[in-house]
Symmetry: D2
């Protein structure tokens, strides 16, 4: 758990659980998105502001391994790491752990890119520089 | 499009779209789940009734390729196929196409199994028979 | 049921139900919003297009009476009527009935107005004319 | 703001906002429900545990005044008070304020009761005692 450059602590809300009494599968994607956006914001990349300038950060593929369900009221950590997959593609490694026992709940890889208004891959220099800063030394080589 | 044993037609609702004006990534998992449950119901497998008997159908992995975003008001088809991955694992191939032009929107593989109250894989004979019936001839070999 | 100028038929989806096995209270507002937007669209009022021109239709008050819960798989009608409350305020009467027995599920009044970019009430002539057309003779006096 | 016996601080998540860039109307009901359940839990009333014993706490009416929209990333307080309306009916006064300026966002009254498995109003002695404790001196007379 020590190597993630970003972690977010959250709590399951009753309305996020379905009839089986567990968090609905789709809701985990909400948790992951929220963590990604807070992480980017922490590095001064504003998802909404970019969108208004015609640059959209888009998810192109998601791989989610559901290891154990979360139940209502449980607290959990969304841990996040970022790696470069190709010149224009990045992948977030996002893992959810239950608190306080750190039981693994979900392991996910979220692949994304940046596109301009024409829908073409487009990485402005500014974003490029931020990526350099975000992809910390310990993650290079692992996911890159 | 002709080879899917099950198709569901739906329409994007405004509240399913986010600030970018497109359907939020997590919402597609709602569409897919809804299609799976209707498909199972059509084959007399009641997700909720099974759950009450202590048998849960659980998603263990989801792979989603986001090809093109859906926008508000657009109609679409959720097409579904089912294959056996191993003795206790199955995979739904679920593809979303925009209507009326059948533009591919999302391609997903949803892996799942059945577990009993102890969380152990458990396929009651009844479910086994239903699976035999569901996995239609044309899909065997392709996904199996 | 005959006097509503607009009705929408929908089906409860499993992911809309909570741990109690019934549709979550907040989800009814999704149903109501979806019905309102489809109704407006039928009368050529595009909620999103107006928004892009700086005119927002905003809900200012909602009153919802929960009469009986909906359960998964149940079909229902969202019936809608529109009345003028004041020069700049309108109210949707929105009632949900279970199918096929027409059991009353929810009765709601949704009060709304139109505002410009400065947040001030603003009814463009175009919208005014459409309202005249929408508020059908049978509803005048009742809600007006 | 000082007289509320319970307050919860939350932050708007991007996926809770709609195309207009503001929190969707239905989402406020999620915030309110989450605050109510945490409040009850703080007083040892477990919503889910009661439900398993056949006692459901059900919302019978909601009145929501939308005063000002919340936008993505904004922090807010959900403040809560509880009053008795009749022998078997209670009302939560729930007000949302934006942080840090305490601008009023939403004022709501959520009326609820407890019912047994037959759907009849039913207040077990245990719940009755808890209510006595929850309805603090300062709220009696105001809402009672």
């Amino acid at each position: 758990m020590n190597t993630y450059p970003f972690k977010l602590e959250l709590e399951v809300r009753d309305y996020e659980c379905d009839i089986q009494g567990i968090v609905n599968n789709a809701v985990y994607q909400n948790y992951l998105e929220h963590a990604r956006h807070l992480f980017l914001k922490e590095h001064d990349i504003d998802f909404i502001a970019l969108s208004k300038r015609g640059i959209n950060l888009v998810v192109i593929r998601a791989e989610l391994d559901y290891l154990h369900p979360l139940r209502t009221g449980e607290r959990f950590t969304v841990a996040l790491n970022l790696g470069r997959v190709s010149r224009i593609r990045f992948a977030f490694q996002q893992d959810i752990y239950r608190l306080p026992d750190d039981k693994p709940i979900l392991k996910a890889r979220i692949f994304w890119t940046a596109v301009n208004e024409a829908g073409r891959p487009f990485f402005p220099k500014e974003l490029e520089e931020l990526m350099e800063r975000i992809i910390l030394p310990q993650t290079k080589g692992e996911n890159g």
